[in-house]
């Protein structure tokens, strides 16, 4: 772990050294020339025969399959554009984006990025993204709630059209109902009581693992109240004062965790495996349809059902953005539009591709599409769309997330 840190620091230093040198000879016409996009129809015309890259998380084989089997063939057939899917962790993508920007505009390999939250905040701060693009994507205007909160803010960061919503996510718990005879723990207090009665049967993935970090934030919001966390200053000392009851709660919970909280699973896949094996009684996911998906795959048994906290669970969206250094912005625009189109997204909502929930506005969809999406919820122990929407809390602001993660490490992990 420590070694990795070292490397990043060294990389950062090199970049910092290069930064002033590159700034000096950068001309102001950075957006001009081949790298500019005007409208989708113009982009379709100029991008024929081009290759476009899609960079994003590659650890979900179903999402990968969807890109390979649905998006890529459609792009080739409709627009004669070749799609290259590059599976990559977001830290590496941000590193590469930074380098490509330093090398000058319109020369980079990265075209479309799957991104959200603190990574979007970082990318936007460092001016790595091209935009605004949302208003040029017809799928966004025609199918989504353009004035909705998640169209304007990503983890509290103003989007300003630099991202197009791509998928919905909400933290959802899953449990085997036979192991919760008194009902699922729908609050942090009930969860603690359950853990005390069943020591070693609960655990969570250690932040900064993406979903584990959300679990910790969700617990903190449940204990302290979302509004307080939202209004807290984004400094370590200020935030600590506000979220201390939440951290105390996690410390109280710690001895009753799996392995007495001395060790945590590293990925949600491990968490799922431990749950499926009956080592622990509860799992969670950012995908609201997770339990249905796993039941469909026969990995979870049919007694497994989803539940939420009464006060709500953290919900956010993930997005598609365009790299400022992209050398095929026209093809990138066509790809973003295709990936957020009704036909592609409805496919993504199928079991085969992981039951992903589209970021669409129900009022703008055809009755048939609406019916298809509603039907997904009507089975296999997942909360209804209405319940999901009712029990939602927004994401904590992006810049507070690394602070909360480091406070967790300091006061819970190492305590």
């Amino acid at each position: 772990m420590k070694k990795k840190w070292y490397w990043r620091l060294a990389a950062l230093m090199v970049l910092l050294l290069l930064l002033p040198a590159c700034k000096a000879n950068q001309s102001p016409k950075s957006d001009a020339g081949s790298g500019k996009v005007t409208t989708l129809s113009a982009a379709i015309k100029s991008s024929k025969g081009k290759t476009v890259t899609f960079y994003g998380f590659g650890g979900d084989e179903k999402a990968n399959l969807w890109v390979d089997q649905v998006v890529t063939p459609a792009m080739k057939k409709k627009y004669d554009i070749t799609v290259k899917r590059v599976p990559m962790d977001i830290d590496d993508i941000l590193n590469k984006l930074t380098t490509e920007k330093e090398a000058g505009d319109n020369k980079g390999d990265i075209d479309v990025v799957w991104i959200n939250g603190e990574n979007f905040y970082t990318a936007k701060q460092a001016n790595l993204l091209y935009g605004p693009i949302a208003n040029k994507v017809p799928s966004f205007n025609q199918l989504m709630d353009v004035n909705g909160h998640s169209s304007k803010y990503d983890f509290g960061v103003k989007i300003n059209g630099y991202e197009v919503p791509y998928g919905n996510a909400q933290l959802v718990f899953g449990g085997d109902k036979t192991k919760f005879p008194e009902g699922f723990p729908t609050s942090s207090a009930k969860l603690l009581a359950y853990a005390k009665a069943n020591p070693g049967k609960i655990t969570y993935t250690a932040p900064p693992e993406f979903t584990g970090s959300a679990f910790v934030r969700n617990i903190i919001c449940d204990v302290v109240g979302y509004d307080k966390v939202n209004q807290a200053p984004a400094t370590k000392a200020g935030l600590y004062k506000v979220i201390k009851p939440g951290l105390d709660y996690l410390n109280t919970l710690k001895p009753y965790l799996w392995q007495q909280g001395k060790t945590y699973p590293k990925t949600t896949a491990e968490l799922d495996q431990m749950f499926a094996a009956g080592q622990i009684n509860m799992t969670y996911s950012y995908s609201p349809m997770h339990v249905a998906e796993k039941r469909h795959d026969k990995e979870f048994n049919d007694n497994t059902e989803s539940f939420l906290f009464d006060k709500g669970t953290i919900a956010n969206q993930n997005y598609l953005a365009m790299a400022k250094s992209s050398n095929a912005k026209d093809a990138a625009l066509v790809l973003i539009n295709e990936m957020t189109s009704e036909s592609a997204q409805l496919k993504k909502a199928e079991a085969k591709y992981g039951y992903s929930i589209p970021p669409f506005d129900a009022k703008k969809l055809s009755p048939k599409a609406n019916q298809q999406l509603t039907d997904i919820y009507n089975n296999q122990g997942v909360p209804s769309l209405a319940e999901l929407q009712q029990k939602q809390i927004p994401e904590v602001q992006a810049k507070k997330i690394p602070i909360i993660e480091s406070l967790w490490k300091e006061y819970v992990l190492n305590d």
């Binding site: 979900d60 990559m88 590193n95 990265i110 990925t267 491990e270 009956g278």
Partner: protein, 259 residues
């Protein structure tokens, strides 16, 4: 008797991780605390073969590793010949210099290389990837070949020269046969190191050129052990084919290996 049991133990220790990889690959259900998977099937293999980048990645990995080996040897052989016989730089300082690429952080080197390579239009090309791999494989090859040159000494070559042999004759009939085991080891190691490179392939290749580690790592990092295991086995197979092929080509037979 004792020798046999030691040998068996060694075999067991080598085979155990392989067996686990194999089991993960063919398992469709493997839950704690079962020692072996509860269900078997070809689902994972199917998923792997469905990946459109699978065959290109295998081919690219192989070609890049092979080319890197050739480039590395082309640089390392003459360089080591000179370095082994010179007295300007102390051998200790030399070792330090050879190991420098390991001391500098890879990410710093890779990111700054990318900036240069973008300007030289080398990103997204095989040439760029092979060059960046060579940087990381050279220390291994140099160290081995340098040692081979030192062991061989200059005596044989000098004798041949004084008898009127041409440089290429010396290389063909004296240096190469004598050094073949060392060269074969260096080549094999270079091939393995190049094959497992992730950062330079990603940064310089930009995902336009896929290799096996680029597909494998996201799965391994995110706990998809079955897919990661399947790819690891393919990885292993490619490595073995490559190393054996190089051994055959170079023809290095260890002295006294067959007596």
């Amino acid at each position: 008797m004792k020798r046999t049991s030691t040998l068996l133990l060694a075999c067991f220790l080598v085979a155990l991780p392989l067996v686990v990889l194999l089991l993960w690959t063919v398992a469709t259900q493997w839950l704690y605390p079962a020692l072996i998977p509860q269900q078997f099937g070809g689902k994972v293999l199917g998923q792997m073969l469905q990946e459109p980048n699978f065959w290109p990645a295998v081919l690219n990995s192989f070609v890049i590793a092979l080319a890197t080996t050739v480039v590395t040897l082309l640089i390392a052989m003459p360089a080591c010949k000179v370095l082994a016989s010179q007295h300007f730089i102390s051998q200790q300082l030399l070792t330090f210099m050879i190991y420098l690429p390991f001391i500098l952080p890879a990410i710093a080197i890779v990111t700054s290389t990318q900036i240069l390579f973008i300007q030289w239009h080398l990103t997204g090309t095989f040439t760029g990837i092979i060059l960046s791999h060579t940087y990381f494989t050279l220390p291994y090859a140099m160290q081995i070949i340098l040692e081979s040159y030192r062991k061989m000494g200059q005596g044989y070559a000098l004798t041949a020269k004084s008898l009127g042999a041409k440089p290429w004759q010396i290389l063909k009939t004296i240096t190469w046969p004598l050094m073949a085991p060392g060269i074969a080891t260096a080549a094999g190691l270079t091939f393995i190191v190049s094959l497992s490179q992730y950062l330079p392939t990603f940064f310089i290749g930009g995902g336009k050129i896929m290799t096996l580690p680029l597909i494998l790592l996201p799965y391994a990092n995110n706990g998809r052990f079955n897919l990661a295991s399947a790819y690891s086995l393919v990885f292993l197979l490619v490595t073995m084919i490559g190393v054996l092929l190089l051994k055959q080509l170079i023809g290095g037979r260890h002295h006294g290996a067959r007596n």
